[in-house]
Amino acid sequence: MSQFQEKTQIIRIERLTTDIIRLTLESSRIVSTAKPGQFVMIRTGNGKDPLLRRPFSISQIANGKYFQILFKVVGRGTALLAHCREGESLSVLGPLGSGFRIHSNGPNCLVGGGMGIAPLLFLGKTMARQCSAPPLVVLGARNREELAPLVDDFAELGLSVHPATDDGSFGHHGLVTDVLKNLGLGDDCMTYVCGPHLMMTAVHLFCKDRGYGCQVSMETAMACGMGACLGCIVPLEEGGYGHACSDGPVFDAKELLWEVK
C-alpha cells in the first residue's frame, strides 16, 4: 500500500470567497500515487485539541509534487487551517481510499455540488488526458460567488461546464438534476457524483431511472482514514455497512442504501 505520513509545506493559500479556501501543499510521494477520488487526512493543529485529523479530497495535482485541497470553513478544524500561512507545514496522511473507476470510452458526466466539486477537478483533468471524449460537467452551488471560481478551473481544462445555482445568480436557476435531464447524455453514460447527500440521492435516482452508471463519493465523519476506527460507515443496500475510508469513499451508488422520502 502506498500511503505516507508527511510534513508537507503550504505553498499557496487562496481565499476564493470569505469562507472558501484553497491550499496548495507539496509532497512528491503523495502526489506520485494519488488517484482521482482519493483523499488525505490533515492535522489542523499541533496540540491535543482539536484532536483528530480532518479528511479532504485531493482536488488537483500538478508538476509531480503539488496537490490542492478545497474547503469551506465549517468548524474549528477548518478555521485553524484557514489561518495557516504559506511556508508553514502540515502533517498529511495519504493518499487514502479507493478513488473513481474511470470509463475510458465514455460518455462520462461529472456532477458536483458545493465543496463536493473538489475531487471532480482532479478527475476531469485526468479524463481530459485519458478518455476518448471529454466529460460533460454539471456543477451546482448556492450562488455565483461560490460557483464561478470553481467553474473557471474546469473551463481552463477546456471542459464545457453547465452551472446551476440555488439563487439563479449563475447558470441555471435550480438543481443540477434539472440540468442533467436536459443534457441528452448517451445511453451508456457513467456519472461521477460528489456533493450534499440530498443532491447525490437525486442524481442516483435519476441515473437509476435512465440506466446510467453512477459512482458517488461519500463524506462522513472519520477518525483515522485507514480502516481502523470503523467510524465512517455508510449503509449498504444488501444490509450492513461499508466503510467510507477503506471501501470508498467512492461507491457504486447501487450498492448503497438511499433513504428516499
Binding site: 500500500m1 502506498s2 500511503q3 505516507f4 505520513q5 492535522r43 491535543k48 485539541d49 482539536p50 484532536l51 483528530l52 485529523r53 502533517s91 496522511l93 462522513t220 465523519a221 472519520m222 477518525a223 483515522c224 485507514m226 480502516g227 481502523a228 476506527c229 470503523l230 467510524g231 465512517c232 460507515i233 455508510v234 449503509p235 444490509g239 450492513g240 455497512y241 477503506s246
Partner: protein
Amino acid sequence: MGSEMKDVDLRVSIGSLNLKNPVMTASGTFGYAREFEPYVNLNRLGGVVVKGISLEPRAGNPPPRIVETSCGMLNAIGLENVGVERFISEKMESLQGIDVPVLVNILGDTLDEYREIAKCLNGVPGVAGIEVNISCPNVKKGGVAFGTVPEMAASVTTAVKENSSVPVIVKLSPNVTDITLIARAVEDAGADAVSLINTLIGMAIDHRSRRPQLANVIGGLSGPAIKPVALRMVYQVAQAVSIPVIGIGGIESTEDVLEFMLAGATAVQIGTANFVNPRASEEAVDGLARYVAEQEMDSIRELIGGLILS
C-alpha cells in the same frame, strides 16, 4: 534505530508472555494490524491487540458512530467485527509471519459466549494471549455489565481461563465505583494480568438540532482527555493486585508511557493516538530506548511502580 541503542533492555513480561518492549496497541484502534504496515514496522512493537471479536459477526451501530470532543473523542462503534470464525481463517492467517505477539480481544453477551470464543481460539497459531473485554452488558442478567460486578467479572475470567492455554488479560471498565474490587476479583479468578482503562461512558449533544451527536446517544470517551483518570486507576490497581497491570488511556507519547509505568504499569497500550499519528507506537518504542540509554538504566523494568511520593 541507532546502533548505540542495541543493548538497551526494554523487555517486560506479562505472565508467561515475554514482550520486546512495553508498548502495545489497544484493541479497536489498530484494526487487524496490517492496516498500519505502511507506517509502522510491526515487528518493533511489544505486542498488538486486535479488534474485539465476538462469537458471531456483528454489524455494529448505525451512524453517526464517532464524534470529536475536547481533547478526545466519543465512539459507539457497537463492536462491529467479522466473528471468531472469519477472524481465525482470514485475519489471523494474514498475521502469520509477523514477529510480534498478537493478543486477541474477545467479548460476549453471556458466559457461554466467552467460553466458546476462548475454545475456538485455543491452539490457533499466532494467538499469544487473550484480552477479555468485560465491559459489554450481560443480556441474560438484564444488561448489567460483566465488568461492574466483581463476582460476574470473576466468572468470566474463570470461563476464559479454563479454556485458554495462553495468558489471559482482563480489560477493566473505569465505569465503576471502585475499580480495585474488580481487579482483585479477576486476579483471584486466575487472570494473568489486567489492562485498564476501557473508555469512560460519555455523551455529546448538538444544541442546535437538540439531538445527541451519536446515534447510540451514549458512547465511550477516549484520548488525552481521559489520561488523568486512567493514571489514577492504574496507580490504585497496581497497589491492589500482584499481577501485571497494563496501562491504557490517552497515551500518545514516550512521556505518557513513562508516567504510566511510574504509576505501576508493566506495559501500556496506545489507542486513540494511532488514529492521529499511526506511527505513535513505534515512536514511543524509540523514545523509551533513548530514555533508558540517557538515564543509564539497566532495564526499563526499573521504572515500574517507581513513583516517588515524598
